[in-house]
């Protein structure tokens, strides 16, 4: 007879899924995007991604040491934040700006609210919005792939009616256009999203309602729907940012409302607003409504 019987609370079996494995799946889904951005921007992309990941991990570790909290660096959420921040930065951004952005997004986007699970906004998008208002000139420095010459993104060309040549849809799909690291190659984003869907880490409610509302509204505003889907960070935002579980509603109805709100705001900013791209701000604005949406879309209990 074993003298040391273990006594724990029920349930006595638990699923093997942990927060760390969820984050690891997101990192694996990011690998196609990393490969695609490295293919199109070579060493610039690698340097930027490594700077963002290293500085977000370091700042999380430092913040938790200073505030004497438990170090949660091994749940890999800081790596995901760093990767996603790097994906929405332009390739020729000076590395010190990227480092400041990564530190800001971890410190003021996540840790100041209490760490993972308590942040009201997507930390990567907070970092990008901060860099956008602080260094607008550097953040608007888009270069075309391979040769590294300055060229406008398709959305800027369409917004400002520039004389640059508009790339065709096939180039937009494969990624041979200028833009930020993660948003150029739609093919790699779809590969990553497919992996996340197969591993059951994201659900299709938000991406589908987001993309469909963008398509329908673009059609209403007499704009090419396919152009709006294939340009900018729409697919990256829909599959990787707007599906972040912490900052999005939890019920199915709430997710669909969130997606429709994001899509409407994106089209509103792109067509009527001052910025050429509106994915970042639309997701951040809808993040603010998440507690409200959660409150009004309570599930009806069984028999209630």
């Amino acid at each position: 007879m074993n003298e040391n019987i273990i006594v724990t609370i029920s349930p006595h079996i638990k699923s093997r899924n942990t927060v760390q494995k969820v984050m690891l799946d997101v990192i694996i889904a990011c690998i196609p995007i990393v490969i695609a951005s490295t293919y199109f921007y070579s060493t610039d992309a690698i340097k930027l991604i490594f700077t963002c990941v290293i500085f977000s991990c370091l700042s999380e570790f430092a913040f938790q040491k200073i505030t004497k909290r438990k170090t949660t660096i091994n749940d890999l959420s800081a790596v995901v934040t760093g990767l996603l921040l790097a994906f929405c930065l332009p390739p020729k951004l000076p590395l010190w700006i990227a480092a400041i952005g990564a530190t800001f997004s971890i410190t003021f986007g996540k840790q100041i609210f209490g760490g993972l699970g308590y942040n009201p906004f997507n930390p990567a998008l907070i970092g990008r919005a901060f860099l956008q208002v602080s260094w607008p000139k550097e953040m608007g420095l888009w270069v075309s792939p391979f040769d590294g010459l300055t060229s406008a993104t398709p959305l800027t060309i369409s917004k400002l009616n520039l004389s640059d040549k508009m790339p065709d849809f096939f180039d937009m799909f494969l990624g041979n256009i200028s833009g930020s690291l993660g948003e150029i190659s739609k093919f790699s984003i779809l590969l990553g999203a497919l992996y996340l869907l197969l591993r059951n880490q994201i659900k299709l409610y938000i991406p589908l309602s987001y993309i469909l509302s963008v398509t329908i509204l673009a059609f209403i505003f007499n704009s090419d729907p396919l152009f709006h889907v294939l340009t900018g960070g729409l697919l990256l935002g829909a599959f990787f940012m707007a599906t972040d579980p912490v900052t999005t509603p939890i019920t199915k109805t709430g997710k669909i409302i969130f997606g429709i709100g994001c899509g409407s705001l994106t089209i509103l900013i792109r067509i009527k607003g001052g910025f050429p791209e509106g994915v970042c701000y639309s997701i951040l604005i809808m993040n603010m409504f998440t507690p409200l949406i959660d409150k009004i879309t309570k599930i009806k209990r069984f028999g209630g």
Binding site: I5, I6, F302
Partner: protein, 183 residues
């Protein structure tokens, strides 16, 4: 003299007076009817039941020695209660006895914050929202808890099984029930 040959639960064998019995054959209600031609509740002889109790207890103790189990649970894996000592009665709600070895245990020493993944909502058979119940109970906001109907919880443990942050959701809901009943 009684010996057991444990192979797997439900298919263990008893060696009793040099006869080999399958445990199910000897101890189930159906098997009693087959052997004695009476339903179990019709047998009033106390000596008979004392003898059967002995067989069952010796069998259980032999199993725990034979396997040197690390965890003994009264009830099933989801809602059963782990026992610290073996001198406990079997009550009406005990649907079975489960033993686990150390290598099969789910070891999660600590739990993290809720990441709002919504897995608990998907599996809840009563259509509750265990993530909010767990959150408000953790922060002792009982009035907020009430809005999410903790008293409807049947404590099945599905939410705590699925939770990737390994939160003790069932225990937090039980705490909310207790504190709401005090008011």
């Amino acid at each position: 003299k009684i010996n057991t040959f444990g192979s797997e639960p439900g298919h263990s064998f008893l060696l009793m007076n040099n006869f080999l019995f399958e445990v199910e054959e000897l101890l189930g209600g159906e098997s009693i009817r087959k052997i004695f031609g009476k339903k179990p509740e019709e047998i009033k002889n106390k000596k008979f039941w004392n003898y059967y109790h002995q067989i069952l207890s010796i069998f259980l103790i032999n199993v725990s020695i034979f396997w040197s189990v690390d965890k003994i649970i009264l009830g099933g894996p989801m809602m059963g209660i782990a026992q610290g000592v073996l001198d406990v009665p079997v009550i009406k709600g005990t649907s079975g006895i489960l033993v686990q070895e150390l290598k099969n245990l789910s070891h999660f020493s600590d739990y993290g914050p809720c990441i709002h993944c919504g897995r608990c909502i998907d599996v809840c058979p009563m259509n509750l929202m265990p993530n909010f119940l767990s959150y408000y109970s953790e922060h002792m906001l009982w009035e907020k808890c009430k809005e999410y109907f903790p008293n409807d919880c049947i404590e099945c443990g599905c939410c705590a099984y699925e939770c990737p942050a390994k939160r003790p959701i069932v225990q937090q809901i039980k705490l909310a029930k207790f504190n709401l009943s005090k008011q």
